[in-house]
Amino acid sequence: MTPAPDSDQSPVNRARFDQQSADQQQNSDSGPFRKSIFHDSGFRWWHEVAVFVLLVLVLMVAQELVPGFLNPRSQLLLSRHVWEMALISLGMMLIIITAGIDLSVGSTMGLCAVAFGVSFEMTSSILLSCLFCVLTGFGCGALNGALISRWRLHPLIVTLATYAAYRGIAEGWSQGHSWSGFGASFSQLSRGRLLGIPYPGLTFFALTVIAAIVLWKTPAGKHLSAMGYNEKAARFSGIRVDLNRFLLFCISGTLSGLAAVFYVARFDTAKADAGEGFELDAITAVVAGGTSIFGGRGNVIGTILGLLLIHETRQFVGRYWGIEELKSIFVGGLLISFVLIYQFLRPSGQRV
């Protein structure tokens, strides 16, 4: 019998199943004790609780060592840098829930920023430029999505390629040029605040609420989760896996476009290097927030907590020691040790 090419396309799932069945085996060997406590209770929020506890711990230590750390206004002021990344994390979370990954988000931002600049030069209309910028993001996401769902390519491979391609196209298109002088009113888009929260933050929260509603109150949430846990079963249940995946990448691209608009507004600069390194920051936040890199599990509350945890840790390290290098050491170490400790403490059956 000829092996069908389609069945070759989901070895990742296969690997995951094997891992799970191994887990299962371990669970069943470890006796009834752990199971009866955690499983039957149906409590699925251990990870969020753990991140929350850790966050509170960090905040307490920070407040103790850096007087005035928790000052709400300084917190909000410093939050500025986090919003674009937060927007991107939101799309990244949705993709990781379906067991995918998007490495091209940062490069998409770069391309969008250049699109903004080019279109501003041509039309000198902020509105059109914003539109073009977001559309470019959508297009980038759609290309990723089309490649991944049409040919069932692995998301890691496709977005690794577009990670290089989009950034390169941004550089070539802009010829390294940067655009600025979009006017003070445009920069208010990023810097202006309502009730003390910057507009990008408000946008983020609005989108988060929408995402939460979609994830919890509509079938789509369950569909995504099912795709992440077991793509095959999702297909067999009539879930349009390919379409959903395509749409998710479109969403992720569009969010990158939106983030690029805020980024351009905040720095009053449109340049091809916008969003460099965002992809890894976003993945870090999403993973720290309890979304399983193997797919299936994940939610917005965890992602927000993960973002806060990374952000506050960076702030704390920056303000207490004043050494930039320590930030990355702390964030990297925190990510590994947290996941490691959680793996040992976690209730059985819940994987990160």
Binding site: V12, A15, R167
Partner: protein
Amino acid sequence: MSQLPLRGWSRLLARRDIGILLLIAVTTAVVGFMDSRFISLDVWLGIFIRSAPTMIVACGVMAVILTGEIDISAGSLMALLAAVMGLLISQSKAALSLWIGIPAVLALGTAIGTGTGLLVSYGRVPSLVATLGLMTALRGLTTIVMGGKNIDGLPPALQDAAKRGWFGVPVSVWVASLVVLMTSLLFYRMPLGRRIYAAGSSPASARAAGLHIQRIQVFTFAWAGFLTAVATLVDVPRLPWIESGIGSDLELLVITCVVVGGVSISGGRGDLSSVLAAVVLMTMIRPVLTFLDVGEMGEKWTRAIQGVFILLAVIADQISIRFLWRKSAKVRR
């Protein structure tokens, strides 16, 4: 997906390494036609020298990917190892003997690799997460270790070996050949290598066959760490001095080569020869663009050309595989 149920020529053409080599040959011919200086020993030796560290690291990362895991910390690890190497053996620093410094660097690379492996296998931290964290942390650590200064004054013996080497061929090329030989021995002639493939091909079957998957994983990460150290030792002394940016983007370059070389990202499948050909192909892009003299505008498109090229390679590969499957299915009926 190296072997398809095809016969004769089509089978040969379907082999990925042959395909990549053909692409290399065609590119060389075209560029050589436009500028004959491209087809010179000097240029090609240069390309091989540059491929050497990538090849060495790719041998390690490929082993990791074959087991179905991933390692994105190679570049950062190289930076840290370079810094440590500088601190230990540079004449302006501790100036230890090479006989202490070199084993120390190798040991550190292996130790960090082993640590990652332990995290992934016994700690059950997903490899992407573990190496992502490591990648971030090691970069920071490197800057601190370097203390804001470039490290100069590596022992002349080491520099000489890296720049001139033996018989006009730098030591990195010799070492890369040796590593490739060792890796192909490992993959194809040693029990462990077959077990690496087996563990990636079907973890459940591997367990049923009594293989210790976790030990295999630890080994592959340790192997990757060790080879990164090897690459650091032979390649970094070639550079004018050690700076904290060494190895930037190396991890993505290596993974790209491994993927373009046809190694399945979920493990179990892939040939070393294709990966090596892919490394040469990827390394060729910069000199090719230089010799094509694309001009100032064109230079700024370099990264775009690289990126689009990778994208096309990936797509073309998938389409051709699918086409060949269908064709072979028809043939067999």
